[in-house]
Symmetry: C2
Subunit: 380 residues, 2 copies
């Protein structure tokens, strides 16, 4: 705890108090797989300049501060929001639909840190297979901010990005300060070290960026992709995100399938996005009706499916397929989920080409109980 106090510029008792207030949490499981880390804590909430999800770790020979990935603000109308927020040239990048991880070197190994500031064993195992050490040896002070995507994602499984887990780098930042490289510099580094980048779709003058984004978003939407992040090329101003209607609806499907697990605000905010997009995209009546149907279906189909699941199978669960290269990582991952408060069941690992496939069922207790009670004749 002393090292945390030192990192945050606090006295040790003040740091202890943060732990009592649940602002500081233990962030790593002690295990040979995480051998470099002696102790680690993360921030559950923003604290001063330090973002939520900041990880503070003590290794054999260093004190690491891995800043949390900053929240990206969302435009509900592109015009005038982009024009007001940016100046000069912006980059329009594809926003991949997976989960955000920061890849860092600590001690002599790589680690994948989740948005909330935990070291995820599953993602760390995959990151160590994908990323070489050369970049980190040359730049020990940097972290790769990536979207982890694919059909073997334990958190956001999607088929559209192909099989397995892939890492798309979208920012390169200084671990300790969160200072980002400019977009062109990031491109150069990615080329040099062979990283996959979240596609940079276009560079545009901010004056016409809203038009370029509308075009890009309509195209991405037809491909079932999530949306874009608009960035100041120099990264001096914070990025802004904007999503496709298909992605808003897909979020809604997810949220309404498990409607009692999710906050009401999650749903309403996505519905509001659709209204503003419809307003700004100047749709025909037929396009508007298509949007209404898409919205209505994305809400009702998953709910009816969940009601049927409870009626027929007694419960609602989210299924995903995982792959482990080392069964110890499987054990570690189970412990990781327990700590996150996730109630999941797993199939026996099945060998597949030197690795192991495991099917995970995450039990959605709150939605199951609510539906079950209503089906038995309970009142709302």
């Amino acid at each position: 705890m002393k090292f945390v106090a030192q990192a945050l510029g606090l006295s040790e008792p003040a740091a202890r108090k943060l732990e009592d207030r649940n602002i500081l949490r233990e962030a790593v499981i002690k295990h040979p797989f995480f051998a470099d880390i002696i102790e680690a804590y993360n921030l559950e909430k923003k604290f001063g300049a330090y973002e939520e999800g900041t990880l503070i770790a003590k290794t054999n020979n260093s004190l690491e501060v891995i800043r949390g990935y900053p929240k990206i603000r969302r435009a509900l109308v592109l015009y005038p929001t982009l024009k007001k927020h940016f100046k000069g040239e912006v980059a329009i990048e594809e926003k991949m639909n997976g989960y955000n991880v920061r890849i860092v070197k600590m001690g002599s190994n790589l680690y994948a840190v989740t948005r909330r500031g935990f070291i995820c064993p599953y993602t760390t195992e995959k990151a160590r297979l994908v990323f070489e050490m050369d970049f980190f040896r040359d730049n020990p002070h940097l972290m790769l901010c990536c979207e982890a995507v694919g059909d073997e994602s334990p958190f956001v499984p999607k088929d559209i990005y192909g099989s397995g887990v892939h890492f798309y780098v979208f920012d390169i930042r200084v671990k300790k300060t969160n200072e980002p490289l400019g977009v062109r510099e990031k491109e150069k580094v990615a080329e040099e070290y062979g990283f996959r980048l979240a596609p940079i779709l276009e560079f545009a003058d901010v004056k016409r960026a809203h038009e370029a984004v509308i075009e890009a978003v309509e195209k991405l939407g037809r491909q079932g992709r999530e949306g874009v992040v608009i960035k100041d090329v120099s990264m001096k101003r914070p990025p802004v995100k904007y999503t496709t209607s298909q992605s808003n609806c897909s979020d809604l499907s997810y949220a309404f399938r498990y409607f009692n697990e999710y906050a009401r605000d999650f749903m309403i905010s996505r519905i509001v996005r659709e209204a503003f997009q419809s307003f700004e995209f100047k749709e025909s009546e037929e396009e508007f009706r298509q949007r209404c149907l898409r919205l209505g279906e994305s809400i009702l189909r998953p709910m009816v499916e969940s009601i049927r699941d409870v009626k027929e199978k007694g419960r609602v669960a989210e299924k995903s397929k995982l792959r482990f290269y080392n069964l110890e990582v499987f054990e570690l991952f189970k412990e990781h989920l327990r700590r996150m408060g996730v109630d999941a069941r797993f199939s026996e690992p099945a060998e597949d080409n030197g690795s192991y496939i495991v099917f995970m069922e995450r039990y959605m207790m709150s939605t199951t109980d609510k539906i079950s009670n209503l089906l038995k004749g309970g009142f709302w």
Copy 2:
């Protein structure tokens, strides 16, 4: 305050404490129109056996306790809910879509008490024109629980019930105890005194009530009506309500038009109803798509309309047409709305056949501000 303490069985200091905790509120404006009432308070929250909206009033010669109208629980699936809750014969009554008022005699006049326990000047004026005194002279201990509907409703204006304001009696209860008459007794009384009753659609054995309700609700839905209330004929068990898809969607339209004024739960609960109805009504794929489109449109159309209103007219407002027979009542009603925290503007009264027509615009400040900020380029 002493009379309130007496009515609730409290000491006077205890009653004062309830006022300090905002459980007891002053409930009437002093005015010759309300001449019979010396003082009145209502309950903002349930207190012991006394329902939220209970009115306690002191008149020249009596102490009145007008019990709040009890909340009616809602079935999300008709089977097995009805079968579980009722026994023997039930009445299926139409649920009218207006606002709930209790008509009572206090002193020598009639008063219309709103759901929250206030005496509404607008509704009182109309009630005095509609109801004769004979029923109340014969039954001073009873109150008429009515739905006030019509296109001149200040709260829920609807064209489907014709022009003006109409009162449909759905329960007759003992003011002081909330004990209801049985359904057949209510029918007899209504016939004797010439009240309009909320239509009793059918008497059914509870074993097949769910089928009868599905049939009734599909028919009412096609007519744009709200739904049904299912009642134990003896009224020994509390009633249960169930609404049409059209009414759920119409509520959603209203809520999403003024999306920042309304609680998130209001919206989600209505969406959940649609899912359970779709599940229970065993729809064809085409009927299901129709429901999805109806749901999607009921959400998006009003929101886009509100965004346009802010863009073009600077604000979102709800318009309604009111009629006053006495301009003093207009002044009283304005004061009533101010006390309710409603921000409304009014046109000059225009004479119409011995009465006055006034157009009311209720300004939706929260939704207006939110949309306005987003249209100017603010972030969500």
